[in-house]
């Protein structure tokens, strides 16, 4: 299935369709700290972008800027061909978002929350309810559909977040650690959902620290370090540019981190001390 999504992307790229998302010279600083530095990125329809980088590299900031949560930045951002700095929030209607911090109105029931989100996206309550009911059933949380989210386990909350990000059939998805807290079976389901969505022509921005997953599901990998784009290409291309290895090893090389062995050794020796 993954292969199918990938070839689809190649066909699209060949046909030179207008990009879904374009960042031109995007920079952002908080006070004196330069968080993003001249980021250029073009994303096409049907791509799954593995968006990776060390903690504090500026990944969340980029996503927040694209969603209009941070409104001061330098450079240009076009989403669906539209310049977002004009302040019209309509483009958000075609975007789904799973934030890293699982922010939910936990005092609401899953039903209340999902219908509310659907309505914010301009859907009718009835329609959202119908859709949500089927989706929660598929993810195995239908018994708690009318219970408050505050009583949910981490995995159940994550399922609600995933459903809420897709309920309005968006064309572009920003997913930040979407698999966190899910059990192995649910992880398989969600990975498969992402591949199928991409095959349908949806674009997915996938942020995670788990390199094995990123390596497997992404068509293209974008690596951010210290606010700069340090790599952009398919996994095979990255392997070609660097020494062969897993994405984890490539990640270590590109972020200039080669001390894990020494650190681990020191750690253990301190643990052993009386």
């Amino acid at each position: 299935m993954l292969k199918c999504g990938y070839s689809n992307y190649r066909q699209m790229a060949v046909r030179k369709i207008e990009p879904i998302l374009e960042l031109k010279q995007l920079s952002k600083s908080f006070g004196n700290a330069n968080v993003l530095h001249n980021i250029d990125l073009t994303v096409h329809k049907g791509e799954i972008i593995g968006y990776i980088g060390p903690n504090g590299a500026g990944k969340s900031t980029t996503v927040k800027i694209m969603l209009g949560l941070i409104d001061e930045f330098e450079g240009e951002i076009r989403i669906f061909g539209e310049d977002i700095s004009k302040g019209d929030p309509a483009y958000k209607g075609r975007i789904g978002y799973v934030p890293e911090t699982a922010d939910l109105y936990e005092n609401l029931t899953a039903y209340e929350y999902l219908t509310f989100i659907g309505e914010l996206y301009g859907m009718e309550e009835e329609a959202v309810d119908q859709k949500a009911k089927q989706l929660v059933k598929l993810l195995g949380i239908e018994e708690v559909y009318h219970s408050r989210i505050s009583s949910f386990s981490k995995g159940m909350k994550q399922k609600v977040l995933i459903i809420s990000s897709m309920i309005h059939n968006p064309d572009l998805l920003f997913l930040d650690e979407p698999l966190s807290g899910l059990d192995a079976n649910s992880v398989m389901i969600v990975k498969e959902i992402l591949a199928k969505l991409a095959a349908e022509g949806k674009t997915i921005f996938y942020s995670s620290h788990i390199m094995e997953v990123v390596e497997k599901i992404s068509h293209r990998i974008v690596l951010l370090a210290d606010g700069k784009l340090v790599a952009d290409g398919t996994f095979e291309q990255l392997q070609g540019q660097n020494k062969d290895g897993t994405l984890e090893e490539i990640f270590n090389q590109l972020t200039g981190f080669d001390e894990h062995d020494q650190i681990a050794e020191q750690f253990v020796s301190i643990v052993k001390e009386g």
Binding site: L69, P89, K92, T101, Y105
Partner: protein, 533 residues
Amino acid sequence: MRNYPSLKFIDLFEKIFRFFDVNYPLMRKILQIKLTMDRRRAPTVFNERGKKEEDDESNKFLKSLWIYAFLGLILVPFILIRDSYIFPMSLVYGVLMFLLMTSMISDFSQVLLDIRDKNILNTKPVDKRTVNAAKIVHVSIYMFILTGTITGIPLLVSLIAREIPFFLVFLGQIILIDLFIVVVTALLYILILKFFDGEKLKDIINYVQIALSLSIVIGYQLVIRSFEFLELDFSFAAQWWQVFLPPVWYGALFEVLLGQSRDGYLLLFSVLAVIIPFLSIYIYVKSIPSFERNLEKLAHQGAAKKTKRDRIGPWVCSTKEERLFYNFAKKMMKNERQFKLKVYPSFGLSFIIPFILIFNELRMSSFSEIVDSRYFLSVYFASMMIPTIILMLRYSENYKGSWIFRALPITSMTPLFKGTLKAFMVKLYLPVFLVLSFLLMLIFSVGIWFDLIVVWLVSSLFVLICFKFLNEGKLPFSESFEMTQQETGKMFLLFIPIPIFFGIHFWMTTFEYGVYIYGAVLLIANIVFWRKL
């Protein structure tokens, strides 16, 4: 989710919202969700009774309103004063502003400071105008209900007793004050967030919550006493520094509109009363963007604080383990917001009640009579906080962390209990007791010092009694606050020994050396029973 009456009321103004380009159906939907969520949390005023019931859909805020209605009665006698406008009305507006402001900060700060809104609402195709409108209307609904409850009876009294012009000015100014308070609270947050981090703001909100709970207790006293003020004499001369007292502006407006005074200051104050609310709205709207940016700070952790070295700890703890848990409990009590919120009001009560008793007596006897009496023994009522706090020591926001006690290779839990109880006595009870003792020595004489030591020894035994009676082997900080409800009955039973202690001590003072012998016996009892714990 229901179609709340307040929403139906707002429907009347749909056209106005549409005129300002607000997406009305969406705003209404957001409000409906917010109101539903409000029904599922308990406000501070209701703290003592509030508990979580899964299916309870009635708004706890609405249930707590009667307290405000009662507090509103304070205003009535002032409205009846006919000799002057500015003095009584300034007091009326002062009380009103205080009540509105504190309740705004303690119960509605969540509305203004909800950082989830950003991730949930602003990522959706909803324009900011609509989200902000929903926020403002949300707060306004509560302000409207709250003000209505506090001023309902006073307004009615003013209509009957003071005729229509008075009523209209009163009402009009209340509306201005509402505006003023909402905006000033928001501006206050903007200011705090600009200079401090989110932790500081949360601390400040916590302190205001505590102040609110306390002022309600004092409020009860004032309601009863306020009718005595009726005979006071009111001479009022405007001063320049009153420019800084907003209630006086509104009192002045009254004087200017209905009274005869045309004093320059009063005219200035009246102008301020009308202009400032609108000016602050303007400033608020201008600073919303920077506010939203600074709101991010709430999500971040504050900088690490330096801890002072504890000099008392090593003295009161005999073993290393006990000292360890003493320090742990000390930090828990200091840092847990929920704990502080539940405990500090009773803390303040302990402080006030001895004086309330003394002042009550003052109405019947002269000051010199009191000084010669044994009324300093009212300090026993400070120990009312002991059962409450000992019960609360069992709870924590982070109760889930208590698995650590079970996982550790500790043979006995005794050091944990001892350390926690001692931390409570040293860190919470001792400061209150020392300040009280100091004040009582000022009123009575330094000669009461030995009696105070006896009181301390009794309190220390009382701590053990409460612990034995309430604890049931539960570990400190190991249960969720939502469980509190079940034990309160027992706690009230533990107030009974307090007058008994008072009685025994009083009885001992009637013998020569009685107090000294009593003190010696208590000291031995303390040593024996603390060891046995």
